[in-house]
């Protein structure tokens, strides 16, 4: 007598919740579990199509880490095949009627490819775009994530013209070439787009980008696409009137856009120390004057910046700032010390945290300190910088 199978007794919707965190390939395979499971997978509101599911985990690699090319081609072919068939047979929410297709909550596509092989794949790549659009049309996801290791181009504006992106609320792109279009005035392709995240992307917007509905923006180690750089062209300006949260991680390649974000509540900026235009950094700080919570990481002492013009604006007052965290910053400057500037310009600062910062030799207490500072936390990295700050 078979022991009771409690899992299969759960109602469809709960099984679908369980299945929704599995990769698409495994999801489809559940059809073979038993009769009860035959069509359960079709109603799962999330699709995670990941090429890594098609990579043999134990494939041998040669000493350069490259795997057998024929094996790779075979894997790619299977993945291709899977993607096509999935589109044909996945009737989410319906009995095969096109009209009954309920839109997906989230669609995630992860393609992996070695860069040297990508050139051979160019014809396939064009097919990929067609496939992507067929997916967007069929599933109309509310959240879309595309993670690519080869030079895939995503142009939201063009995508929006070709497919219906009206449900799109969250967009996450990693490793793609983004050709712009997420905020142009002319066409509002994504009227509900609120959360955008770019990681390791080449971003190609220029001029003024207006993103009216955007609430959260993350730009992580991205850079401008080469073909949009012009000498002397003004830096792209991002106007995001509803933006509440901004996170920037700037690598050495980054240019810094100009942000106009009147509603910004929290911002977190991390920068490295080489080759970034310091004036731009400073201007960025000035643009963040209305935040409530601010984190800065990796900023140099400001007097190490060579001002292009002497009449540079002073740091504006940060009226709303209540929480400040400085990490890995150089606070040794005598004239333009970042910490001093903030203490002077942030009258409502309540909580200050210093982490891994380079502190001056002598912490002279004669500096003006905020009276309303409630909580100070200093985490020192080096033994020499033992804090003797009494507060």
């Amino acid at each position: 007598m078979a022991p009771p199978d409690r899992l299969s007794e759960l109602p469809d919707c709960l099984l679908q919740t369980i299945l929704s965190s599995l990769g698409a390939r495994q999801l489809v395979q559940t059809t073979a579990l038993s009769r009860r499971w035959r069509h359960v997978w079709r109603g799962v509101p999330r699709l995670d199509i990941d090429q890594r599911e098609f990579q043999a985990a134990d494939a041998p690699a040669d000493r350069h880490g490259r795997r057998d090319k024929s094996l790779e081609l075979d894997e790619w072919a299977r993945f291709d095949d899977f993607a096509d068939n999935l589109l044909l047979s996945h009737h989410h929410g319906g009995d095969g009627d096109e009209d009954d297709n309920l839109p997906l909550d989230a669609l995630r596509l992860h393609v992996v490819d070695k860069r040297d092989a990508s050139r051979r794949r160019l014809p396939l790549y064009a097919r990929w775009l067609d496939w992507l659009h067929a997916c967007l049309d069929r599933y109309r996801p509310a959240a879309l994530e595309i993670h690519s290791d080869f030079d895939m181009t995503v142009d939201l504006r063009l995508m929006g013209l070709r497919s219906d992106l009206s449900r799109l609320n969250t967009l996450r792109l990693q490793g793609v070439l983004h050709a712009g279009g997420f905020g142009d005035d002319s066409v509002s392709v994504c009227p509900r787009l609120e959360h955008v995240e770019f990681t390791s992307c080449a971003i190609g917007f220029e001029g003024v980008v207006t993103a009216r509905t955007l609430k959260t923006l993350v730009i992580d180690r991205c850079w401008r696409r080469d073909d949009t750089k012009e000498e002397g062209a003004p830096r792209p300006r991002v106007q995001a009137p509803a933006l509440a949260s901004l996170r920037l991680v700037m690598s050495f390649q980054s240019d810094i856009w100009v942000f106009q974000t009147p509603s910004l509540v929290e911002a977190s900026i991390r920068t490295t120390r080489s080759f970034v235009n310091r004036d731009d950094e400073y201007e960025l700080l000035c643009n963040l004057y209305n935040v409530t919570r601010l984190e800065l990481s990796g900023f140099l002492a400001l007097d190490k910046i060579r001002p292009k013009n002497e009449a540079r604006q002073d740091l504006p007052k940060f009226h709303n700032l209540t929480t400040l965290l400085l990490d890995d910053c150089d606070l040794t400057g005598e004239v333009y010390n970042l910490l001093d500037l903030f203490l002077y310009n942030a009258p409502n600062l309540e909580k200050l945290t210093l982490q891994n910062c380079k502190l001056p030799q002598e912490w002279s207490k004669s500096k003006k300190m905020c009276l309303s500072l409630k909580f100070t936390e200093i985490n020192c990295h080096k033994k020499d910088d033992v804090c003797q700050v009494n507060h």
Binding site: L14, I18, Q29, S89, A142, A143, V218, S268, S297
Partner: protein, 247 residues
């Protein structure tokens, strides 16, 4: 943590009906409380596992903490009390509290008392930290695919990065959810009935983790799923969907 619940077969979801049913029953119960006392006392019993003790001496001046705990009645008639603060985690109970229908005993007819104990235990643990809005923000439409090896770039956690475990409850959750399969499914059903999203997430992702990376044969074994396809049917099925299966 052995479940002594009777195998009841597929439990239908009475989500909407459940709320109405609970409300009506609560109203009826408080009306008849004086007339016909239950075998248990009408007052909530202080149970050692649930924390009516925890709820009352709450230092923060929250009105809810002052009020008496809710009483849930399991399918076997046993009463389980849950503090108001913990009860917030259940959307259903939250609505009842808001509508002031939560003063009398609240029936949970599909849930055995052992399971209800577990559920209450979870809510009491997470209750003090529960913020419905934060929970909503943290609900990531893209939970990380397990094989992902993205290293964190920043040494600091930026403000925009929602810490998935700000109160160090992950380990506790891991221990809590290491139950035998039957109990786990019952907890999932109970969390679904009471609409406790965090617990439902915990339960369903645990099951998904058990399934991940395994072939159908292996999954059948883990969950004792009986394969009721005939060999011919199964072969046909696999052929039809060859694009998804390996070799």
């Amino acid at each position: 943590m052995d479940s002594t619940a009777d195998p009841k077969g597929k439990r239908p979801l009475y989500q909407e009906d459940g709320l109405a049913y609970a409300r009506a029953a609560a109203a009826a119960a408080s009306a008849t409380a004086a007339a016909a006392p239950d075998e248990e006392e009408a007052k909530p019993k202080p149970k050692p596992s649930s924390s009516s003790e925890e709820a009352k001496p709450e230092p923060e001046a929250e009105d809810q903490a002052e009020m008496p705990p809710l009483v849930l009645v399991a399918e076997d008639g046993v009463e389980v009390s849950i503090s108001r603060r913990a009860a917030r985690m259940s959307h259903m109970l939250r609505l009842l509290m808001e509508d002031s229908c939560a003063d009398g005993p609240i029936p949970a007819p599909n849930v055995h008392s052992d399971i209800l104990d577990l559920v209450v235990q979870y809510c009491e643990k997470h209750g003090p930290y529960y913020d419905p809005e934060a929970s909503e923000r943290a609900r990531n439409p893209f939970p990380p695919f397990p094989v992902e090896l993205t290293p964190t770039v920043s040494s600091i956690k930026p403000v925009t990065y929602v810490d998935p475990d700000p109160h160090g409850l992950k380990d506790w959750d891991k221990d809590f959810i290491s139950l035998d399969n039957s109990t786990l499914f019952e907890v999932i059903l109970a969390a679904n009935y009471l609409n406790i999203e965090d617990l439902l997430d915990l339960g369903t992702t645990t099951v998904a983790d058990m399934m991940r990376g395994k072939k159908p044969e292996e999954i059948r074994e883990i969950f004792e799923i009986e394969n009721d396809y005939t060999p011919e049917q199964e072969a046909e099925l696999r052929k039809e969907n060859a694009w998804a299966f390996e070799d």
